[in-house]
Symmetry: C2
Subunit: 447 residues, 2 copies
């Protein structure tokens, strides 16, 4: 399968970082293998739209194989990585091994529950397609339950929605929820008025969107309030139960009755960070992200790179770069360029430098906040910018086109046609069977 | 909740029959309740496109509430019906009861395994969104497994696909599978050539599409063969196992190694048919469909109607009407008209009459067969007719427009962007909890 002459670059992770690294090797004299446990690239920034019925999974995900169909030097491997051996330059998969000459790790981060993983059952996070469909079903089922409920107290609880975390994901989710309740579902029910929902956005810091300038945070909060969202800064969640969430603000502790809690807080690095710490002695930050060198390689491991959300890169500003797509894309291109330069015998020592095009967060229709260089914009203009920038970066042109149309349609009609409650059924017996067979060249199960 | 003066029409089932019945009551002086255990109407004829990654669930499903948002006399009830009491004019739900004055039952049919339900685990049928996503994952995982498999015999088994049943669903599924393998996935893999798949279509009768004229069946078989599908008439499946299917043709019994069997055979009426047999003494046919009167009511139960696939209506031709959408739509409109006439004191005795606009089946791009009156067409023209008729009947205009565009795009590019392998996760703990609570006005679980 491997040709011995060619340098073999293995990329772990099919997110923005991994995808842009592999793309940059087009026609390069190297063999590239990109490994992901899923068979598709997921456009995370629009995941909240799937969770609120505005888009379908197919609109924001694209098969990784299709991306590289024409790049014959790129092999896509649908597998799960269990361990990395820097000395042997070998990766252990759930169902096999693979050798590398150069390794790029781009497996990102996930949310976490501050050591209360038992909250996950009642407060799902938003990281995967499955999360989004689960959240979508919970939201829609809550309205169905309220419509059927005779006990006013329980009905009230079904109409209380709590979003934990005031970062971009939490803000976008709460905003979309406000639109869903106040516009899309208007008139759909006979016993309840969806506009009477309470949407509560809890943020531990003293304002939403902490990384943004204070005036933009204020604008974001104002826009959320116009959509019927109540913003609670300085609020810490101390317990999550099926029927309530307990919130601590300063000295005051309060229990809020709700049946729907959505989790958009906490950040936890991919387990491969810990693997690299154990195997390569690299340092991690408190979130488990890998401290990288100015060229994104590991200290003492010039052939292993970590990019994207999983990398803690503080050489430029003293602060770690934000976990956003543009950072991952630029790091992917940089690392690919560095590796190609080495292959041609002209190694570069130029450190990675992030060019910040600005940051954007959308609150809802016509409402977004943006910081582009020194320029701070909000309202319709920022929303328009957000929409087009995001759709532009969708991988796969057909997606771009159709999502833009879907978007335009939803915009005109307030419609969210994809608000389907779908069942979650058990894994096909056949696949469980495959899973339990002895480790060999068998079908890897996406985990 | 119910106003006593108004006549209460309860419709069970949000398919074509139920939807068109309820729609026909727009602005009528009656209270309508439409009950479905799912919260969306599913456009069954395009389900095979979801199963093969051409469309997303949101493209072919539409929230029932959204359909009737403006019809204030229509109440949508997301609930599961367990029993019907014609004497008490009462319906028992999983979580409550509801009274009716007139009842329309339109809960359709499903596939069945000829008494071998254990085959379901290895040979999923195509009736729900979940079925379609399960089948989609199985098909795509089979290619991933073949790409990773070193044992040529096992690799061969992963590349053998067996479709059981040569009716429209089986033919369309096999055709789409042929396009997926021969066009869409071309170039996506490095170790296998997707065009080397074997797609086997097994039909128990002596030709595919038995209800069609023989010359169209022959044309359909020819078109399937051009897509690399092997058609086997007179083939009976005697066993399905995780790694093989056993086929009996005449005296010859053969075992075919395969890891992917798709079930498109057998027809089993909704359990509510049996309920009506027990409670109202109505006769059922061998498939469990309800024998209805010329006006689609039940013998001795003028206020209970059965329409769509669940109804066995043979008064017109001596043969039961085919289980297709146009029959259900026309029966829905007829029953609604009959009930409205009764309400205005001018009961009609005109029996239902089906106007056959013709039948169509698609084999693949540019390939379809159609019978419109005496006219038999096939090839590109039939395919075009099929496409536009189907998209035209999609409920929800945004769907129509966007699906047509998605279709056009896929047509030009052979692309199937929605070919995502998604996980099936367990039901949210919260919902299981709700389910186990005592029966009351609680959240109904879609089953």
């Amino acid at each position: 399968m491997q040709t011995q002459k060619q340098h073999h670059v293995v990329i772990i992770g099919g997110g923005f970082g991994g995808l842009y690294t592999a793309k940059a090797f087009k026609n390069a004299p190297a063999k590239i293998t990109i490994i992901d446990r899923r068979n598709f690239h997921l456009f995370q920034p629009l995941l909240y739209q799937v969770a609120t019925g505005g888009l379908s999974p197919g609109d924001i995900a694209y098969p990784i194989r299709a991306v590289f169909s024409a790049n014959k030097n790129v092999t896509v491997l649908n597998a799960e990585v269990l361990d990395i051996d820097p000395q042997a330059k070998e990766i252990l998969l759930r169902d096999g091994k693979i050798q590398f000459d150069t390794l790029v790790v781009a497996t990102g981060v996930s949310h976490h529950y501050f050591g209360n993983d038992e909250w996950a059952a009642d407060a799902p996070g938003l990281k995967t397609i499955e999360n989004a469909l689960d959240i979508r079903s919970r939201i829609l089922r809550a309205f169905e339950a309220a419509e059927r409920e005779s006990d006013p107290e329980i009905r009230r609880a079904w109409m209380n929605f709590v979003v934990v975390g005031g970062g971009p994901t939490g803000v976008e989710l709460a905003g979309a929820l406000g639109e869903l309740a106040n516009k899309t579902l208007k008139g759909d029910f006979r016993n309840i008025d969806p506009t009477e929902v309470n949407i509560l956005l809890l943020e531990g810091a003293n304002r939403v969107l902490p990384p943004y300038p204070p005036e933009l945070s204020a604008k974001a909060q104002h826009a959320l309030e116009r959509l019927g969202v109540t913003v609670r800064p300085d609020a810490l969640v101390t317990d999550v139960r099926p029927d309530a969430v307990v919130v601590k603000q300063g000295e005051r502790t309060e229990q809020i009755a709700t049946r729907t809690v959505l989790w958009a807080a906490g950040m936890q690095a991919s387990p491969l960070g810990q693997v690299l710490a154990n195997r390569a002695g690299v340092k991690l930050d408190r979130a488990g992200r890998v401290m990288v060198e100015p060229d994104l390689s590991l200290a003492g491991q010039p052939n292993i790179f970590v990019i994207g959300d999983l990398a803690h890169f503080a050489h430029q500003t003293g602060q770690p770069l934000p976990g956003v797509a543009p950072v991952a894309m630029q790091q992917g291109r940089y690392v690919a360029g560095l590796i190609k330069a080495r292959l041609t015998g002209q190694p570069t020592t130029k450190p990675f430098e992030y060019f910040d095009k600005g940051s954007l967060a959308v609150i809802g229709r016509n409402a977004a906040v943006a910081q582009i260089g020194r320029l701070k914009i909000n309202g319709y203009l920022a929303w328009l910018a957000w929409t087009f920038i995001h759709i532009w970066y969708l991988v796969g042109f057909d997606n771009k086109l159709l999502v833009m149309l879907q978007w335009a349609w939803n915009y005109i009609t307030w419609n969210r046609g994809a608000r389907l409650i779908t069942e979650q059924v058990i894994l096909p017996a056949q696949l469980n069977k495959t899973e339990s067979e002895p480790v060999s060249q068998k079908l890897p199960l996406a985990k």
